[in-house]
Amino acid sequence: MSDQDLFAYPRGRLQAADLDLAASLQAMVQKEVMDKRLELKEDYDGLLKPSLARLMAEVGLQKMFWPEKLGGEEHNEPEAAYTVAAALEQIGRADVGLAFLAAHSLALQAAIAAKDSYREELCAAVAPLFCEGNRPLIVSFVLPAMSQDGGAPEWRGKGIQVRAKSGPDGWTLTGKAVRPTCSGADAGLFGVLCAVEGEEPAFILVPGDSPGISRGQEFKKTGLAASRNADLDFKGVKVPAANCAWRGEEGFLNLLSWFYLGLAAAGVGALLADYEIIKEWGDNRVIKGRGQVFKENPLTAALMGEIAKEIAVDRLLAYNLADILSDPQAYGDDGPLAVFTSALMLVHHIYVSAEYTIHRTMELMASAGYAKEWQLERYWRDVKTVQCYLGAYELAKHDFARWFYHTKTL
């Protein structure tokens, strides 16, 4: 039994192709990311960019959902949720930032190219960006955020960062100091939730090379080195009418649900890496001067046990979310809001747990916990950064309350 298999997951629900993909990704990221990072650290050009290209373009994650006639692999059944989970936990095990970027791409694909939500005209317009040639396409989102603009239109209390107007030539987008979820410096396609005056919000896809987009300087952040983020300005950016993926909430909730699945799997990947690191430490470290192996000390063993428990539960939860997305009817078919609420709860739970777990692991390893040489600290920074980008947990709790208690004013 491999170390990863110690942590139960619904193996029987995965297709043979999913298991093969996971196994090959595990081997690939070990060789191309994990084995090189002691030397290359978090070097974007030397390590992360080529790894992203390999995963998205060569392995083909960015082609996964698109129909074959558009150059994709047409793996677009709801069961693809398991594929997303299996793939992103392996990538997250190597680098959470790479999985974070892949989660954007896969969520967008699922939201517009999955069999039950297929949007023909839009897919025809954007699939070439994903499927033609061998260039990796970085997808980023512009989501509602807390802002200093008190008058901004809101979605669930947060300001919608970009405004859009529709006209005969399509959409025109404006927004200043817009903060995307990732890769403001590099993204080739932005999925932007836009406020439309007097109407429902629109989710619009904006190619990164559209005239009128200006990108600020990359800013430094805690983790996720694979995402070179920068604020954006949209100055009268024009896109065709077909680039509007949907109006209103339903499609947006579906997108977010898939996005959260990807992030959940990425977090589990970080935890699987955490396990490998603390296992090696526990096996080899000797303490108390009496030849006592670290894992045999009752205090440290109890903490190591708790770490394993958290990882085991989180992995089950991530796959459970995949199960919900793959077959919502089996969970009551209460619509996209129910799925979204579940996804939001599970992903927050996993990241709270992941932060807690990696904190405890660092405490067991003391200085080695924060030395870059031992690699643990990068997962700690990455997981915390994802948690920040997920949004404030306190405000997400309002979404939970809204669903479970039918609150009316939150």
Binding site: G289, E355, H359, S367, R381, A392
Partner: protein
């Protein structure tokens, strides 16, 4: 508008020099560190930026002279009943700007505490080292070299292991000690330390406290080698590396005190280190309070300042309550260290257990609420331009050095519950 000066401190514990010390330190932090600190992470190896504020505070303002007697050119704090409340202020104000810098600059004084604090003053060694620290405006760095490659915090676990795991040896040869060993992680190594205090054994494997020795040596003594610094998650201002000691010869009187006393006063350093770390936590939390105050006033949720949301206010209250408590515990710890006539010897197992308890309790609580603040700030919580994430990284590291959390727990349990085998 509220400011950090509204956070409670026990006024009756403040040293007479507080009114002089605090504005100087606040001014130093605001002008010499805070405008530049966002660039410090990239300066971890060479300290091209970081050196200047250190030199200003330690060398030019003379903080490195703090513990030396006045007649040797120092400030005489080693004999003061307010040494640790003063150091709490120093640590807090430095850490408000950068807790890595606070660790590095504070650790310069740490080895000297073994010979400069009443009642265990070693006048001869102070006379020896005073010119190095007091006759210059250059920054002088000290390093307390404890940890070794094997066993990590075992050496700090004095009451259980009694020095039996120390592998750095000190052998008498005529009127000199000959030191051999390998130390890891001391603050202010990585090429910085001018003076080292090395924890050694005179009889490897012995559990006799008489065999634990704390011996000073200069960095330029033949046989002393420092590696470059390790790269870490944060605390760029605190360089840590390897120190190799190969047949390092120093006079016999470079030993801090002698058989039995070195082990005892090494425990003193443990108590002091754990107590002072709380000041770093408090300082970090004060600066985050400043940043958070701005954020929740300027950022809107549902058209109102974020702070006006009840759920958010709950997090803000947790933060404020924790800051208040951390600061009060920290001052209490400092006062206990200052008043051994009331609270007992600093080097007692009781005091060590209590300082460990305060430290790990305050660290745990601080990290919990700082993590929540980062999350509350959403993407800006992880953004270096908002400063909170740097403090989060740095303060985590403060939690882990000097024995880490589990040793704190064991020492607390051992004393409070009279455990016999832990």
């Amino acid at each position: 508008m509220r400011t950090i000066d509204d956070i409670t401190r026990p006024l009756d514990y403040l040293p007479p020099a507080a009114q002089i010390l605090m504005p100087i330190l606040r001014n130093w932090a605001d002008n010499e560190v805070i405008p530049y600190r966002r660039q410090y992470d990239e300066d971890w190896e060479h300290h091209k930026l970081i050196h200047a504020p250190g030199k200003k505070l330690l060398g030019e303002y003379g903080i490195q002279k703090l513990l030396f007697p006045v007649d040797l050119g120092g400030m005489g704090f080693g004999e003061s009943d307010y040494a640790f409340t003063s150091m709490f202020i120093l640590g807090e104000e430095m850490a408000r700007a950068d807790s890595g810098l606070a660790v590095g600059l504070g650790a310069t004084l740490w080895p000297l505490m073994s010979i400069a604090l009443k009642p265990h003053v070693n006048r001869r060694l102070l006379e020896e080292f005073a010119p190095l620290y007091c006759d210059t405006t250059e920054m002088i760095c000290g390093a307390l070299c404890m940890t070794e490659p094997q066993g990590g915090a075992d050496i700090e676990n004095v009451d259980l292991l009694k020095g039996s795991t120390i592998q750095t040896t000190a052998v008498k040869d005529g009127d000199e000690w000959v030191i051999n060993g390998h130390k890891l992680w001391p603050t202010n190594t990585g090429g910085m330390a001018d003076l080292l205090a090395v924890v050694c054994t005179t009889n490897p494997g012995s559990t006799d406290p008489n065999d634990v020795a704390l011996i000073f040596c200069y960095n330029d003594t033949p046989g002393v080698t420092q590696s470059g610094p390790y790269e870490k998650a944060g605390m760029a201002c605190d360089k840590n590396g390897d120190v190799w000691l190969e047949n390092v010869r120093v006079p016999l009187w470079y030993r801090a005190h002698g058989p039995g006393l070195d082990a005892l006063f090494f425990k003193d350093l443990m108590s002091l280190g754990n107590g002072v770390i709380i000041s770093f936590t408090s300082g970090v939390m004060m600066n985050i309070y400043e940043k958070l105050l701005d954020f929740v006033n300027e950022t809107k949720f549902r058209g109102l300042p974020l702070k006006e949301n009840d759920a958010v206010a709950g997090v803000l209250a947790d933060y404020a309550a924790t800051l208040e408590i951390v600061r009060i515990i920290g001052y209490q710890a400092a006062r206990m260290l200052d008043r051994s006539d009331l609270y007992g010897d600093r080097w007692s197992s009781e005091m060590m257990a209590k300082m460990r308890s305060y430290r790990y309790f305050t660290m745990d609580r601080a990290l919990e609420v700082i993590g929540k603040v980062m999350n509350l700030m959403e993407a800006y919580g992880a953004d270096r331009d908002h400063d909170v994430e740097k403090h989060w990284r740095d303060i985590k590291m403060n939690q882990l050095w000097l024995g880490g959390k589990q040793l704190c727990q064991i020492e607390a349990a051992r004393w409070f519950f009279e455990c016999e085998t832990l």
